[in-house]
Amino acid sequence: MEFFRIHKTIPFMRHAKVLNIISFVTFALAVFFLAHRGLHLSVEFTGGTVMEVAYQQSVDVGKVRETVGKLGYPDVQVQNYGTSRDVQIRLPVQKGQTSAQQSAQVMDALKAVDPTAVLRGNEFVGPQVGEELTTNGIKALAMVVIGIMIYLAFRFEWKFALSTVLANLHDVVIILGFFAFFQWEFSLAVLAAVLAVLGYSVNESVVIFDRIRENFRRYRKMSTVETIDNAITSTISRTIITHGSTQLVVLSMFFFGGPTLHYFALALTIGICFGIYSSCFVAAAIAMWLGVKREDLIKAPPKRDGDPDDPNAGATV
C-alpha cells in the first residue's frame, strides 16, 4: 500500500496567505466565543457537588430536574451521562450545607419518586481548590510554552521557536473555542488533553523544521520557499499516517472509553486535526514571514585566523 504518490513538490507556500487569513479568522472566532460565551467549567474548577445517579429503566431528565428543583435549587443542571439510565446532577455550593447533606437530601427526593435510583458517584469540590487548579493550569501552560521555545531556540533558531509556539497556541485557542462554542464541559481531563496536544503538535512542526534544515544543507541552490515546500511535501505522508494512527487510538477512546473519556478524546481529536494544519501552514508560513534563511540554520564554518585571502593561510611546513 502507498497512499501518497506525489509527483512534484506541492507549492504549499503559494497559498500561505489565504490559509493564514483563514486561520486568523478561525482564531479570532475562537477568541470571540471564549470571551462571549466562556468555558463551561467542570466542578473541579468552579466548586460544587456533582452526583451520578443510576436508574433501572431509562429516566426522564426533565422529571429529575423538577424533583431536584423543588428542593430549592433554581439553576440545577441535570443531564444524561453515558446511557439513558444514568443522570448527572450538578449542584452549586450552598452556604450552611455540606455536600453530604446536599446529596443525601437529593437522593431522598429522587428515591421518593423512583425507588430504584442508586447513587453511583458523588463529587464535591471546595471553591479554593478550583481557584488553585485554574492558576496551576495557567502556570503549566506557560511552562510548556516557555520550555518548548527554549528547546527549539537552542536546537534550531528563534524564528522557528516563535513560529512553532504561535502555531501551537493557535491550536490550543481553537480547541478552547470549540469548547466555548458548543458549551462542552471543560474538565481537568480536557486540560490535560490540551496540554498534551501542545506537546504533541509541536512534534509536527519539529519534523518539518528538521526536514527544512536538512534540505537547506542538501540543496544549496533552492530558495527558501522551495525548500519549505519540498520539506512539507516529503514529510506529508508521514504526517498524515502518524496523525491517522494517533486518531485511531483517540477514536477508540471516544467510542469505548465511556463518558469520562469522552471530552478528553474530543479535545485530542480537534487538536490532532488542527495540529496537522497548523504545523504545515501556520508554523512554516510564520517562519517564512519571519524571513528564515539558510544561514540561520547552517552555521558558517569558523573563520581562520589571519587574512582569509592569503592562499598560504593555515599552511604548515
Binding site: E2, R5, A104, G121, V125, L188, V207, I241, T246, S252
Partner: protein, 627 residues
Amino acid sequence: MNRYPVWKYAIIVIVLLVGLVYALPNFFGEAPAVQVSAAKATVKVDAGTQARVQEALKAGGLTPDMLTLDATSVRARFVTTDDQLKARDVLQRAFVPDASDPPYVVALNLVSRSPTWLTALHAFPMYLGLDLRGGVDFLLQVDMKGAIDKRAESFAGDLRTSLRDKNIRGSAVSRNGQTIEVRFRDAASLQAAKQLVQDQFADLSTVDSQEGSDWKLTASIKPEAARRLQDAALKQNITTLHNRINELGVAEPVIQQQGIDRIVVQLPGVQDTAKAKDILGRTATLEMRLVDESTEGRAAELGNGPVPFGSERFLDREGRAIIVKKQVLVTGENLTDAQPGFDSQTQQPKVDLTMDAKGGRIMRDVSRDNYRKRMAMLIFEKGKGEVLTAPSINGELGNRFQISGSMSVVEANDLALLLRAGSLAAPMEIIQERTIGPSLGADNINKGFKSVMYGFIAIMVFMCAYYALFGVFSSIALAVNLLLLVAILSMLQATLTLPGIAAMALAIGVAIDSNVLINERVREELRNGASPQAAIHAGYDRAWGTILDSNVTTLIAGVALLAFGSGPVRGFAVVHCIGIVTSMFSAVFFSRGLVNLWYGGKKKLKTVSIGTVWRPKTDGTAVVEAK
C-alpha cells in the same frame, strides 16, 4: 552495517525479561483475602501477629493460599470467597474479643493472585486508583494559621511566666496575630527581656523599638521554627487520622500529605461517607492523672480488692491494670510538644515533653507535692481510656520535662508519637470529596481497558497492512512499549487511574509516530535508489534526530503537567512521561534490533519487505514496485 554487537542484544533481552517479570503480576487478577491490621496506635503488627494469624487459621481448619506480612498488616489469601468469609469470622473471634474496643481490624480485601516467586522478587501489580475500584476520597485542608496562632499564644503565656520569674517588672505581654509584643517602661528591662528570649526561647526572634516613653519588644516565631511547627502539625494530624480511620475497618486506607498543608484520605470500598466523615472529625484526648498509690489502690491494682472511691481502673498497653485518680491534672491541650531523644547522662532513650505556661505551673506544683509518686498519661478515644505510660516523678518538673526509663528507641518514638497524636494539632476542613460506586469503578476499568485494546489492535492491523514486515516489527515494538510501560508503573507502584489509562492509550498513538517516521524514511531512501541495507541504515539514522526532538518537546509538556497538575492530571502526566521514554527505547533501539536480526546478516539483500515503494518515473508515468 546493520548489525548490533552482542551487548546490545543482551541489553534488549535483559530489559525484556525484567519488563515481563514486573508486568506479569498485573495479569493474574486478584484473589479474596483477609487482612489483619492494627486498630490502635498502641498495637503493633509484626511477625508475632503473623504467627498468631496462622495458628488461629489452623485451629479453624483453614489453610491460606498465601500469608504475607508487610509494614502495617498481615494478609491471608484464599482461593474461594467461602474460605475468605470463614477465615474472617475465625480471625475476628481470635483477634477482636471485645467488639466495642477492637485492638485489630479484620477486613476483607483483594490480594494479587500472582505466585509467591513473583512476590519474592517484589513484583506487585499496579495499585488501582479509587476511580477504578470504588470508594471515598477526601482532601482535607489543615488550618496552618490556626496552628501557628495557637503556638504564638502559648509562647506569649510562657514569656509572661518567665518574665515574672526573672523579676522583670513593668512588662505587659500581648499577642498580635502571630507576633508577641512586650512593653516596658525602661530600657534595662527591655535588655533583660531580650536576653531572656535569646536564652530560653530559641524559636523566637526579637526586634526592639521605642514608642514615646515606652520600649517595645516584638517577638515573632522564626521562619524555620514555623516551618517545623507546620510540619509537625501536619504529621500529627496524619497520625491522628490514621488512628481514627483504622476503626472503619478499611482494608487499605491511604492517608498522605499533599503540598504543605493538605492531606489526602482515600478509603477504598467505603460507601458510607457520612460515617467516614464523622470518624474523621472525632477527637481523642490526652489526660495526665496521678496513680492511686494508697493501700486500697495497690490492692485493687493486684486484683485483691475493689477500686477505691475517687479512683478509676484502666489498662496499660500490656493489659496490666493501673488504678488512677479521677482528678485530671492537665490535658493534651496543655501539651505543646513531645519529642523522642537520648538522655545526655545515661544515654538512654527518653521523651521530652513541653507544656504551655499553665501546664508547666501545674506540673511544678504537682511534682513538688508528689515526689517519687507515679503519674499516669492516659489517652481517651471513643470515651475509652488507656494508660500510655505511668512513670514516677523524680524531681521538680517545669514546663519541660522528660520521661525516661527502660524504653527502647522504638518505644520512645512510639510514645512521643502517641502523646502528640492524641488530638489534632490544627483544625482541618474537607475541601474536596469524591465517592465512586464499585459498579462505576468496574465500568471505568472495563471501558478504559477496551479503549486501549481496540486502539492497539487498530494500529497493529494498519501497520502490518501498510508496512508489511516492517509493520510487524513496529507492532512488536509497540507491544514491547506497552509491556515496559506497565512494568515500570508496577515497579514504581504507581496508582493507576482512568486518566492514566487514557495516557496509556495516547502513548500508543504517540509511540507509533517514531516507527512511522523510520519506516517512511526507509521507504524514501529506497525511492531515491539506495540499496536495501543502506536504506535501513540511513532510515534509522536520519529519523533519530527528528524522533529525539519531537519526543523532548512532548516530554516538556508532560513534565509541566507533572509539576503543576494535581489528582487526575498528575495520573495522566506520570504515564505520559514514562510512555515517551519507553517509546524511545522500543521504537528506536528495540525495533532496530529486530530489523538487524532479520536483515543484518544477509549480505546480498535485494529487497526489503516494507510495503509498496513507489517511484515516479522521469517521463511522468509511475511504476509501482510491489514487494
